[in-house]
């Protein structure tokens, strides 16, 4: 059983290109349709939880499913399966990278990829902030400026923002009581 958990998440880990959300359909197929480890209704709740806990969503989902199946060992098996493909591939690249990095063709390829990476990062900034209350744009800009311009640690920004969210909820709660 532990091995089945490991193997299932190894498969998921090996084919999740492009970050957490890309792996949701893969996890659905493997964990719900093929294995029946989680019910579809439960899976939505699981996704919400995986997003509220820090850490990559694919890891969180794996730990949750593994833990439900076989406790700590199941969680560890699922986690190991998810992590192993990226670990092995990146370690292999790192071991050889030192040499091929000096290659002029590889160097030219990276010069082309660097601005592309930045463009891929900016996309979600725009799509995520669409439809937000205009006042929140100020918060977005202030957070970006504090981290980029003043070198603040994003950790403080996150903590402050979470506290502000809770404070706001308390104010609303106080008002609605009256």
């Amino acid at each position: 059983m532990l091995f089945t958990i490991f193997a299932s998440f190894l498969k998921i880990g090996a084919f999740t290109f492009g970050g957490g959300y890309a792996m949701i359909p893969l996890i659905e197929r493997e964990v719900i349709d093929r294995r029946g480890w989680v019910e579809r209704r439960e899976f939505l709740d699981l996704l919400t939880l995986a997003q509220s806990v820090p850490g990559p969503i694919s890891l969180n989902t794996a730990v949750f499913v593994g833990y439900r199946m076989r406790g700590l060992r199941g969680a560890a098996a699922a986690l190991a399966g998810t992590v192993l493909p990226s670990f092995a591939i990146i370690l292999a690249i790192a071991l050889f990278f030192a040499n091929i990095r000096e290659n002029p063709v590889v160097d030219a390829a990276f010069r082309g990829m660097r601005p592309a990476v930045v463009a891929l990062i900016i996309g979600p900034v725009l799509s995520l902030s669409r439809g937000m209350h205009p006042a929140l744009y100020v918060v977005i800009a202030a957070a970006a400026l504090a981290i980029w311009g003043w070198g603040w640690s994003p950790i403080y920004i996150l903590a402050t923002a979470a506290a502000a969210g809770i404070a706001w909820e308390m104010i609303i709660a106080g008002k609605s009581k009256r």
Binding site: V83, I93, I157
Partner: protein, 190 residues
Amino acid sequence: MILWQLFVSYLKIGFFGFGGGYAMLSLIQNEVVVQHGWMTNAQFADIVAVSQITPGPIAINSATYVGYTVGLQMGNPLYGILGSMIATLAVCLPSLTLMMLVARFFLRLKGNRWVEAAMHGMRPAVIGMIAAAALLLIFPHDGTPDDRNFIDGWSWALFAAVFVGSWRKVNPILLIGLSAAAGIAIYYAF
């Protein structure tokens, strides 16, 4: 000791990694480039590019790669492998412990008003963090010429082309591959 610092840094990244992969970029960048100077801004862009075309979350990919690079600075590839294991383990530990606690005790957390309020408050901050990561990649603080990701007009042209492509939902792996080919054509072939 540097391996201990590596462990603590990636533990922090794992523990505060709210909001998914792109938001974690800012945390990783802050620890690895700004605070500890383990890699340059350009090297950081390289590892993001590699992460895009290899499977797995960027947090794991960067942990493995940075861990190896940092360990290697101690002079032996074996330390590199040790470093990559330490950083990868560290970034996973918060997920493992917190998610098990959630699975065990806090299933009721879902829909909890205060958790949702905190998540709500964090959302604009997370978007700001992603923007900060992009800004730092475009305008490094005091980068040497080697440390710049935008070196000429071609850089901006590629940036614009990929931006339009991603807006139109072109597969990011394809976009990275195409810009690598364009880079070879621009900077090597001609």
